[in-house]
């Protein structure tokens, strides 16, 4: 029997990036908000302590801050012909855990998607014909890039993003990304200072006629005070960024941009070490009653609430919907149902250059989002008329670290141990440079999420099952961009290079990206989307689901700029529209 708690206006599930933004916006509107987070409380001085944060083994290899598979695993397979098995250790992607979520240990590469990405189906159909995308399940988002601009701007200013705009109100800006869609304002901070590697990459690609520009970064180029009055410090290029909390208050996260203000609000409460098991929706009802959660002593509670906002990260948003019976589960056979539909990822490929030892890159002088990008082959910034695919990839030179357990390249053909390995490792450490293509991931009928029939969590409930492989379209795209990377490698003057191309058979046993998207997507048609364009469930009207789960498909860019913008959009919709007529759908089905 669950213990019943006093009612709240809003219960937020998960206190990561989106949960903290939504909680703050709604608490500011005067609502009584409780956020329920399954991991521990975390803060900079105590948990990301400079005295012991730079510890590769503990944080990057054993992954102290991450969700452990023992607590909740996911089963994986490439297609319905295979048996899904649990990822016994999270390797391929690394979900977060605890206050701040994955925003604690992200890199901070903070992008806007292009206008054409939001109306992708219409855009590609108009330009290349419906036949071109017939094998894909591409959809429009139900929101335009112009509508997203203001929300992006709020997230960038909250987070102190350091970058150079490429297109302000239609005017191309020197030094920025010339392919960028029009935006209303510049970034709040200038780009980071460049280290040698990305500068060299910019030289090489610039001479080839490409358009390199500084990658927009949530590692702050300068000291900054955000609109909530919270001060952040300049990044010190420590090189312990991705997978680590920042000890300097230099990387934007819930801790450094929202929580100091949010925690002081008397109408907000955070409960940690409490895992939400289910959103309670009576059978057939259009309103949820609240959530059931269990604390770390095993005690179960029912928290009644008028509004439930699920901010548990893409994967767990979808699992909670499936476990709670919100919306109709997607069936890849019939193509019907919405929850679990359009799971997408990121189609990556890499290049490594091996120079003579006259190059000294100091790879340890680095930050998670410090680098240069060429967007010449991303999205639809290049003409696809004569190509056999849609989509594209950003080519990024963001050498984020030189931590030696993982980052100690050797030229191809080198043994993996012994005297020869030692010499090659020593000779290569300073003189090698990597860059990569981060490609779009477009939906197909067969890539989806559902509940696993065999494997269970600690409470006996089915794990989430992921069925995913790279669609042929995306592999053709990735190979095309890998060919472009190879041209850059040839022009670089390196004595040797490798290009690791993406291939069929998505491999969960090597780290690729924690950019999982879709499964609870937004759209204008309730038969093909789980959420309306305000991230409100079509089926249960007081449930909003915030995160990359809402993306109908993923662009060739990191997701969190768009995730943060959507969090502001959903919070605004609740404040400004939903509260006027509680319980009503914001869009007529």
């Amino acid at each position: 029997m669950s213990k019943v708690l006093p009612r709240k206006d809003v219960v937020v599930v998960g206190l990561g990036w989106t949960g903290s933004i939504v909680s703050h916006q709604l608490a500011e509107a005067g609502l009584d908000v409780v956020a329920i987070e399954r991991g521990p409380w975390r803060d900079t001085a105590t948990d990301f302590n400079v005295g012991y944060m730079p510890d590769e083994l503990r944080y990057a290899i054993r992954r102290d801050l991450f969700l452990q598979a023992r607590a909740e695993a996911i089963t994986v397979r490439n297609n319905t012909g295979q048996d899904a098995l649990p990822m016994r250790n999270y390797i391929g992607f690394l979900p977060g855990n605890g206050v701040g979520g994955a925003g604690v240990h992200w890199n901070g590469q903070t992008w806007r998607f292009y206008d054409s990405d939001f109306e992708l189906k219409s855009h590609l159909t108009d330009k290349y014909g419906a036949d071109r995308i017939k094998d894909l399940q591409i959809q429009d988002w139900g929101v335009t890039g112009a509508e997203m601009d203001g929300y992006y701007d709020r997230f960038e200013k909250l987070a102190g993003i350091s970058g150079k705009a490429g297109n302000i109100k239609g005017e191309i800006q020197p030094g920025g990304n010339p392919f960028e869609s029009a935006r209303s304002d510049e970034y709040p901070l200038p780009p980071m200072q460049m280290t040698y590697g990305p500068s060299l990459f910019a030289d090489i690609t610039g001479k080839m006629g490409l358009h390199p520009f500084p990658s927009p970064s949530a590692n702050l180029s300068k000291n900054y005070v955000n609109p909530l009055g919270i001060a952040m410090g300049q990044c010190t290029y420590c090189g312990f960024c991705e997978r680590f909390g920042c000890a300097n208050y230099s990387k934007a996260s819930a801790q450094t941009t929202v929580l100091p203000a949010l925690m002081r609000m008397p109408n907000f409460e955070a409960r940690t070490q409490c895992e939400v098991l289910k959103v309670e929706v009576p059978k057939g009802a259009e309103m949820a009653r609240g959530v059931t959660y269990i604390d770390s002593t095993g005690e179960e509670y029912f928290q009644p609430a008028d509004i439930v906002v699920i901010c548990a990260y893409q994967l767990f948003n979808v699992r909670l919907m499936l476990l709670s019976g919100i919306g109709k589960p997607y069936d890849p056979q019939s193509g019907e149902g919405t929850v679990g539909r359009n799971y997408c990822y990121q189609t990556n490929a890499g290049t490594r250059l091996y120079f003579e030892d006259d190059k000294k890159f100091n790879p340890f002088i680095a930050a998670g989002a410090l680098g240069q990008t060429c967007d010449d082959y991303n999205g639809d910034s290049f003409d696809h008329s004569d190509l056999d695919f849609v989509g594209g990839a950003g080519i990024n030179c963001i050498p984020s670290n030189g931590r030696p357990i993982e980052t100690r390249p050797t030229p191809p053909g080198t043994p993996k141990w012994g005297a020869e390995w030692k010499k090659a490792t020593r000779d290569t450490y300073q003189s090698s440079l990597a860059f990569g293509a981060q490609g779009s991931s477009y939906a197909t009928r067969g890539n989806y999420l559902d509940l696993d029939p065999t494997y269970k969590d600690n409470y006996g409930r089915p794990l989430l099952r992921m069925t995913f492989d790279f669609p042929d379209n995306d592999l053709r795209m990735s190979h095309y961009v890998s060919d472009r990377m190879e041209e850059i490698a040839k022009a670089s003057g390196a004595k040797q290079y490798t290009v690791s191309r993406q291939k069929k058979g998505w491999n969960s046993a090597i780290y690729q990206s924690t950019h999982n998207t879709g499964g609870a997507i937004m759209g204008t048609d309730p038969t093909t989307s789980a959420l309306n364009p305000y991230l409100q469930s079509w089926d249960v009207h007081n449930v909003f689901v915030v995160g990359a789960s809402a993306f109908p498909q993923n662009a060739g860019k990191n997701p969190t700029g768009t995730v943060g913008a959507l969090a502001f959009r959903a919070a605004d919709a609740i404040r400004d529209q939903y509260l006027k007529a509680p319980g009503a759908p914001l869009v007529k089905a």
Binding site: V50, D55, R70, N78, R88, C238, W417, R426
Partner: protein
Amino acid sequence: MTSLPLRSSRRAFLAGGVSLLVVGALSPVSAHSYSGQLPWLIDNTEPPVPVKPGGWYFFLPDEVALMSAICDRLIPADDLSPSGTDAGCVVFLDRQLAGPYGRAERLYMKGPFHPGLPTQGYQGPNTPAQRFRKGLAAIGKAVDAKTPGKKFTDWDAKDQDAFLTSLEKGDVKFGNGLDSKTFFAFMLENVMEGFFADPIYGGNKDMAGWKMIGFPGARYDYRAWVPQHNKPFTGAPISIAGSVQWGGKADK
């Protein structure tokens, strides 16, 4: 705000001293409610507990000898660095395997266990500690089958290297449910962790691994060096435990 308990048990968890049985959440810290102010307790940090060499917590004497001989071949002593064993890799492995890592405390260990595809990752039912125990025993057996009555440590370096190469290729049949290729890759990964992790965990003694490649360790502010393109960084490495510049003992 409810008060925070000291996280002493979590510290012990990191040090590998205590076995914890917690359902669901992995941390023994109990649930909390926070409101009205940022929770703050100065004693709430969880520094790592330094490994002290001396004694073996996991390895048996024969295993210590075998593991040391292997580490001396994987990372042989030369003018670039001392050997893997002299750099503390075996001590590192011992403490890791005796702790939560060895016990697979963070892995999903529920059945059914199926071999699966390589793209689904390691699917065996063994913990890392069990993999080492069984893998080293299988190596001992394979050596005995080749040269009855002799041990790996009796072989010369050339024969040892040839044997390690055949393990790496998967040419040795273990016959105990483990596959020699997978075991070798796993063992190598753990040895390299020892050679390159912060010395506080027992390996990378005197920052030997870092000195070999020029990694400056736990430094945290490189701003002065950012604009100095193509110039090798010259500062001495620093461990979490300290640096000779600070009177620390780690860098001799």
